[in-house]
Amino acid sequence: MDNAVYVALGRQAGLRDEMRLVANNVANMSTAGYRREATLFSEVIARLPVEGGSVSMSRARVRVTDFAPGIAEATGGALDLAIDGSGFFRVETPAGERLTRAGAFLQRADGSVATAEGHVLLDAGGAPVVLPPGASEIAVGADGSVSVDGRPAARLGLVAPADGAALIRETGQLFEATGPVEPVETHLRQGFLEGSNVSPVTELARMIAVQRAYEAGQRALEQEDQRVRTAVRTLAGTA
């Protein structure tokens, strides 16, 4: 008959996970292109041996990524690109193609455009973007057209996962699509970087809520402990 304890423990385990997630969001509040995460608690119904009896428990097993846009900060960099609206850049990594919204790119010595971690940016057709090395002026239009010293050089395209494809988070603000991706309308802003979409106030409020809920669970456990003790003492006294 320890159901009350299990209900409280299940809730606390979920809250610990949620705390970890809040910590991760707060830690990444300055990570360009980071998307905040949230948990969803779901109900698990356990049947009890008594006729028609059941107990409801909660489990934090689902995580959702909040794809709301972050605030764009003006940096003035020619290859700092912020995405206006939805969509992702495509980059090539050793593990395959990945999606990202972190738009701080650099031009490498061979002319290819890559992230600070060396993942090469892919254009609308899926080929690596290569700009003439030593270019003095790189202009990126809102529609993704790149011109170097006045001559067209590349065309960037944004993609989004097609229906049914999920995104797996990876280090470096990368996402792996589990299914096909499809091109979406491209709106870019040159000279801006999209920040993290973590709102410090919201996270702080969630953190307090989690902490208090955790303490409430703790009190429920203590009272249950007290109840069992009293029961044992009373029953032992009468026997």
Binding site: D17, A32, T65, L106, R169, E170, G179, P200
Partner: protein
């Protein structure tokens, strides 16, 4: 309680940010200094349930999984390439570079370094050197009896003498361009070293192929924008405090669990 360690990575990141900002502010009067920017990346995710896994109970596909983030790390500290404003100094060997390009200087080790700091001087032999005494390549020596020196936009150096009407050309400064300026390695003293990431320097005449031009009598100011740095500093400080709050909260949750009898 992983939240403790995750918040610690967050505090570390914000601390790195404050360090980068303080270095920028310290260099807000350094000739031709380019501000740096700390960039962060989220750490690895523990994939405890991958999205797209088939749910054994009813065969449906999970639309989202369970991925536990482990915090943040510094991915790069990049140079923000920007032209600083030009300050009129009137010095005949003060050279500002307007546009792209670096002056090549010779280090005592025999290797080349690159700089945009054009506060040049003459040494005892009349050789044109940087403030630290490194000769500028190509080496140009100003004769002791020269009355005045004039350097034009293309970097050609002319000396004028008392007994001559026309100036004599002593040589010409060249500019070095890089495919990836941000890949240069900062050596301190406003000097940069070529790396595999920056590519080899392309040295040529100023004002050609996208290279900048020289402005005699000017120096390039630091490109640090104090207002932007201060707003970033405020953000970083609040971020640090917020991460510290997470540590406190996680600690209190642990304390609550530890009270169990």
């Amino acid at each position: 309680m992983r939240a403790l360690k995750i918040a610690a990575t967050g505090m570390q990141a914000q601390q790195t940010r404050v360090e980068v900002i303080s270095n920028n502010l310290a260099n807000m009067s350094t000739t031709a200094y380019n501000p740096r920017r700390a960039e962060f990346a989220d750490l690895h995710y523990e994939q405890s349930r991958r999205p797209g896994t088939v749910n054994a109970a009813d065969g449906s596909v999970l639309p989202t999984g369970v991925q536990l983030g482990l915090g943040v790390r510094t991915s790069a500290v990049t140079m923000e390439i920007a032209q600083g404003s030009l300050r009129n100094t009137g010095g005949d060997l003060d050279l500002a570079i307007e546009g792209d390009g670096y002056l090549e200087v010779l280090l005592p080790t025999g290797l080349s370094a690159f700089t945009r700091d054009g506060a040049l001087k003459r040494d005892a032999d009349g050789l044109i050197v940087t403030s630290d005494g490194h000769p500028v390549i190509p080496e140009i020596t100003v004769p002791a009896d020269a009355r005045a020196i004039s350097i034009n936009a293309d970097g050609e150096v002319y000396a004028y003498f008392d007994d001559q009407v026309e100036g004599r050309q002593l040589g010409a400064f060249a500019l070095a361009g890089f495919a990836n300026e941000k890949g240069l390695e900062a050596m301190g003293g406003n000097l940069y070293r070529e790396t595999a990431a920056s590519g080899a320097p392309e040295i040529g005449e100023a004002g050609r192929d996208g290279r900048g031009v020289f402005r005699q009598g000017f120096l390039e100011d630091s490109a640090v924008d104090a207002v932007r740095e201060i707003t970033r500093l405020i953000e970083a400080q609040r971020g640090y405090e917020l991460n510290a709050k997470v540590i406190t909260a996680a600690d209190q949750m642990m304390a609550a669990s530890a009270q169990i009898r």
